[in-house]
């Protein structure tokens, strides 16, 4: 079986294949993710949709563990403190690695030998902490190497984590959004999404020594309600399989105002809201 010869962007009717389906035996094509080759034939290795970009053939499954790419913005949880590095759970097949040399040391202190001591390292990140980082590179074994070398990255505070399917968080220019309702949202491409109280950037820069603090700002009841509402909206977008972007969250939020926060996770309310959001998104094109 052969697919269309003309090299073009993927606009052929997407073909669904199961593992082991032969895709093409034209030697001009290169294998991408989700395929393997045997005796010059490219076969699909997963159940999914065939995608072709110029000469690259790949198969994208419906659901797959997040596999990182360089430049991805992610939210991860520290699982282990090791020698001069942290291991970070990034919802992927391997834990990511955050090297001591890849983080900002507060106040620009010169790196002293004592910092690499494990006890000192825990004053920066300890097990269980949530970190907002960017994928810098890969290690030889495929583990992601992360860095937080920018003022907006670092330890996450003042809010709550929502877990979504990674394929619902599209890669975009910016993953840190301040929503009009006054809440900050970090959309990790790996599916971990952080919703928190808005802290003005100026305040963050002013208090450089506190970037590794575990203390939350005081959060008022109203702010809590807004954070809960946004978190519930993201949860329902996730369960109803709608793409999670700042636009979809804002639509969902606006549509949800009619309902009390705790009702957003009730089945009928969630379905209604999800349909509204999808209709609105389709309208926008």
């Amino acid at each position: 079986m052969e697919i269309d010869e003309a090299p073009q962007k993927v606009d052929i009717a997407a073909r669904i294949v199961t593992p082991g389906t032969a895709i093409t035996n034209d030697p001009a094509f290169m294998r991408g993710h989700g395929t393997f080759s045997e005796h010059d034939t490219i076969y699909s290795s997963v159940a999914g949709v065939v995608e072709r970009i110029n000469k690259l053939v790949s198969v994208r499954p419906l659901k797959q563990r997040y596999s990182g790419e360089i430049g991805d913005i992610i939210v991860g949880r520290i699982t282990e403190v090791a020698s001069k590095r942290w291991r970070v759970d990034v919802n992927s097949r391997q834990d990511g690695v955050l090297l001591l040399s890849s983080i900002n040391l507060p106040g620009g202190i010169q790196r002293r030998k004592s910092e690499s001591d494990e006890l000192q390292m825990r004053t920066f990140f300890a097990e269980g902490d949530l970190v907002f980082a960017e994928v810098q590179s890969y290690f030889a074994d495929g583990a992601l190497s992360l860095h937080t070398r920018s003022i907006q990255y670092g330890k996450l505070r003042n809010g709550t984590l929502v877990t979504a399917f990674p394929q619902l968080v599209p890669r975009s220019r910016s993953h840190f959004h301040t929503l009009p309702c006054g809440v900050d949202v970090v959309l990790g491409v790996n599916g971990y999404i952080w919703v928190s109280k808005h802290v003005p950037a100026s305040k963050v820069e002013a208090n450089a020594e506190l970037i590794y603090s575990d203390k939350n700002e005081p959060i008022s009841d109203d702010e809590r309600e807004v954070i809960a509402r946004v978190a519930n909206c993201i949860q329902l977008l996730n369960r109803m399989y709608v793409k999670i972007t700042d636009t979809s969250i804002i639509f969902a939020y606006d549509a949800s105002v009619a309902h009390p926060v705790k009702d957003l996770l009730k089945h009928d309310v969630a379905v209604e809201l999800a349909h509204n959001v999808m209709a609105y998104l389709e309208q926008q094109g």
Partner: protein, 310 residues
């Protein structure tokens, strides 16, 4: 209980939220999540139920099957009652730490708790009715619970599912005959009627208690804790209340602290109120829970009867 690891900032956020009466998902301290309940899906069992407590189709999910077997009496056992044997197992599909022997401790804890609620007059079941022939044969009800998913509040889900399974349990009818032999001794024999339509429901099942678990977080407590809330729970109190508002069992859990006596008094009072609400909610769900496949024609040609509409 299986618990997540949260950062100190997340823990603080949850604790302060609970203390101001506003939980992370917008619920009040005494608000409970949605329940899905289904009974009678396992045709091989004398009674079965599946209960899920959670939001948007994801939650703590427990499946309970009840199988009745006839057992011969042995000297040393009570002479005129049947018995109940409970077993709870947490499946590795619920959490990674339940692989291999990881679930052993929680299995024991849950099994013993269920046994404490069910074995004895506090359950409301009349064990004497389970005796077939005194000093000879009796019914044993094997109650097996499988925990399929854990998202907080596992005890309450377990008790809901068990209650529904037992209420939908029916036993085959038994015919007892007394025959005399040559020496004039009367012997009793019994026969289990092998007719799937001729069944007797389990008596007393509607008297079964329902449980309410209170989790102490910071200075306040919440009911129906989510996974995140359980990770910051310092102490837990489970109270089982019967429909007649009697207290059938109390058990404290949690290693971090105890309860001040004043809080205990408040919790016990609240327990009754919540139990009343929960029993009403249970009844509504139970009445709609029957899997209605009464004939071959009704069964869907594709798809699973187990998963349908759940």
């Amino acid at each position: 209980m299986a618990s997540l690891i949260l950062s100190p900032a997340e823990q603080d956020y949850i604790i302060r939220g609970v203390e101001s009466g506003f939980r992370a998902d917008g619920r009040g301290s005494l608000d409970r999540r949605e329940v899905s309940l289904r009974t009678g899906m396992i045709s091989q069992a004398n009674g079965s139920a599946r209960c899920r407590i959670g939001n948007l189709g994801v939650g703590t999910d427990v499946l309970v099957g009840v199988k009745a077997e006839v057992n011969s009496w042995t000297p040393g056992e009570a002479e005129d009652v049947g018995s109940i044997v409970c077993n709870v197992e947490c499946s590795p599909s619920a959490a990674q730490e339940f692989e291999g022997r990881g679930a052993e401790e929680i299995n024991v804890e849950l099994t013993q708790l269920l046994d404490r609620i069910l074995n004895g007059p506090q359950s409301g079941l009349d064990l004497k009715k389970l005796c077939i022939i005194p000093k000879q044969a009796y019914w044993v009800l094997h109650i097996d619970a499988l925990v399929l998913d854990v998202k907080g509040s596992i005890i309450d889900t377990l008790v809901w599912a068990t209650r529904a399974a037992l209420m939908s349990t029916s036993l085959p009818r038994v015919v007892v005959e007394t025959i005399g032999d040559e020496m004039g001794n009367m012997q009793a024999e019994f026969d289990v009627v092998d007719d799937p339509e001729d069944l007797t429901p389990l008596e007393g099942a509607e008297n079964l208690p329902i449980s309410v678990t209170f989790s102490q977080i910071g200075k306040r407590y919440v009911v129906d804790a989510s996974e995140q809330e359980e990770a910051v729970t310092q102490a837990r109190l489970t109270v089982a209340v019967s429909p007649a508002m009697e207290i059938c069992a109390i058990q404290k859990g949690g290693m971090l602290r105890g309860f001040p006596p004043s809080l205990l008094t408040e919790i016990l009072e609240t327990a009754q109120r919540i139990a009343r609400e929960e029993l009403t909610r249970f009844k509504t769900h139970y009445d709609n829970a029957k899997s209605h496949f009464t004939s071959q024609a009704d069964e869907p040609s594709t798809g699973s009867t187990f998963l349908v509409q759940f």
